[in-house]
């Protein structure tokens, strides 16, 4: 874990930060171009299908964020290093952000496909529940003033919450098949033409870079705040 701490500290330089911001921006633009202009028309779908190129990555990034929270929570309980608590908080915030984006893009896509802003479809519903769970995590954090208590409680919730993620996923899928026996086909079928797959890959990479950038930037805020708090208590001491 010392390695992890060192890696995080090394990455906290202006070069890395601005560099990854620039790289993410470039990749995102490339991805957008590929998604909106370059990739071919989909059979039987209107141009709105292109939402999927951004929708799928936001979903994956949301799950990544939740995993980061889980890892941070676990590491915090194990090693008692506050850095890991900050990592967990950042992960949750990013997870909630991307989960929200996933919901919005999913709803817009759904409105076009099914005519309604919302249907209780497994993926959307799961995203909604996960969003609520992790919003709960952030709310929990905001109600505790004591640093240690907050870190501990959040860590416990972060672990339990993440364990629930696959269960929620599975349970809602099961529930969905009870409610909507008609299978809703997703666009990411194996018979996807290579151009589409590549576009998706690029967009995924772009969002991954974006996630890493946002993570570093957001974590830095937390680290700065922690440093300030430490200095303050030294002054008073």
């Amino acid at each position: 874990m010392k390695l992890l701490e060192k890696a995080l500290k090394l990455a906290d330089t202006a070069l890395v930060r601005y560099g990854s911001l620039g790289a993410s921006a470039a990749l995102m633009l490339l991805g957008a171009y590929l998604a909106l202009v370059w990739s071919p028309e989909a059979a039987g779908e209107t141009a709105v299908y292109r939402i999927v190129y951004f929708h799928v990555p936001t979903a994956i990034m949301a799950y990544l964020g939740f995993f980061v929270t889980f890892a941070g929570s676990f590491l915090f309980l194990w090693k008692k290093e506050m850095l890991f608590d900050r990592v967990a908080k950042t992960g949750a915030e990013l997870g909630v952000l991307f989960c929200g984006l996933m919901l919005v893009t999913g709803m817009i896509w759904g409105k076009q496909r099914w005519g309604a802003w919302w249907i209780w479809e497994p993926r959307l519903t799961t995203a909604l529940i996960l969003l609520i769970i992790y919003a709960g995590y952030l709310i929990l954090r905001s109600t505790i003033d004591n640093q240690m208590t907050r870190a501990r409680y959040a860590a416990v919730f972060g672990i339990v919450g993440f364990l629930d993620v696959p269960v929620v996923h599975f349970a809602i899928k099961m529930w969905g098949s009870i409610m909507h026996p008609v299978v809703i086909k997703s666009l990411a079928e194996p018979g996807m033409p290579p151009e589409m797959l590549n576009t998706l890959r690029v967009c995924l990479l772009a969002f991954g870079a974006l996630f890493a950038t946002l993570f570093l930037l957001r974590l830095r805020v937390e680290n700065l705040a922690a440093e300030i708090a430490a200095l303050r208590s030294n002054h008073e001491g």
Partner: protein
């Protein structure tokens, strides 16, 4: 292991003694569960045809709400009497406290259910316990999962500023899978589903229970250190 169980037993007995003296709370919670069941009748058009489908939902929601109330209470009494410090300082394995609280909460919920279900049967004219063993299994397994996470979250929320509202806000989303498994199993039993369906659900419930009981018991100590 025996040490833990013995300690849990002791704490459980203590809780039982203090709680049974305040039988009022049991009565109040029962009234609440009853109210939920009755209110549903006014909120929805319930007729003999759709009752089997809706019954499962009504029951489980009533128990979720009533159970959540009972959970909040089980740690609140400690906090109010400042017993929590005593509990936290005592050199017992935290797991023992968790097991004791869990069992106490479970017992409380089961009593509420035993009191509420007959009333439901009469009011809605539906024998919910027709497949007695299976239905009991569903309720028990559902209760266990509910009280596992519930005990954990309640222990946390009792220390928070907005404890009454945070307990359901934090707990209920985590319980969504449990609700799905349990309510659909109950519904399957009531509407004459296939054995595969509810046996499958029962297995899922059992798996849910095991996973979360183990995890909750393991992480519980990290909460208790703050108390």
């Amino acid at each position: 292991m025996n040490e833990i169980l013995r300690t849990a037993h002791a704490i459980l007995l203590k809780d039982m003694k203090t709680e049974f003296r305040s039988r009022e709370f049991l009565g109040h919670t029962f009234m609440f569960a009853l109210l939920v069941i009755v209110i549903f009748n006014f909120a929805f058009k319930i007729n003999p045809q759709n009752t089997p489908e809706l019954a499962s939902g009504i029951l489980w929601i009533a128990f979720l709400f009533a159970g959540t109330l009972g959970l909040g209470r089980s740690f609140l009494i400690e906090k109010e009497n400042d017993c929590i410090q005593g509990l936290g300082l005592s050199p017992v394995d935290r797991t023992a406290i968790f097991i004791a609280k869990f069992l106490g909460n479970l017992f409380f919920l089961v009593i509420i259910q035993i009191m509420t279900i007959p009333v439901f049967i009469v009011l809605y004219n539906l024998n919910v316990m027709e497949h007695f063993t299976l239905q009991t299994a569903v309720f028990l397994l559902g209760d266990i999962g509910f009280m596992t996470l519930g005990t954990l979250i309640a222990a946390m929320s009792v220390n928070l500023k907005a404890r009454e509202i945070l307990l359901p806000v934090l707990l209920l989303p985590l319980l969504v899978p449990l609700l799905i498994f349990a309510a659909s199993a109950t519904a399957a039993l009531l509407t004459g589903g296939e054995p595969d369906t509810y046996m499958g659900r029962l297995k899922l419930l059992a798996a849910y229970d095991v996973i979360f009981f183990v995890v909750s018991a393991l992480v519980f100590e990290y909460i208790m250190d703050e108390l």
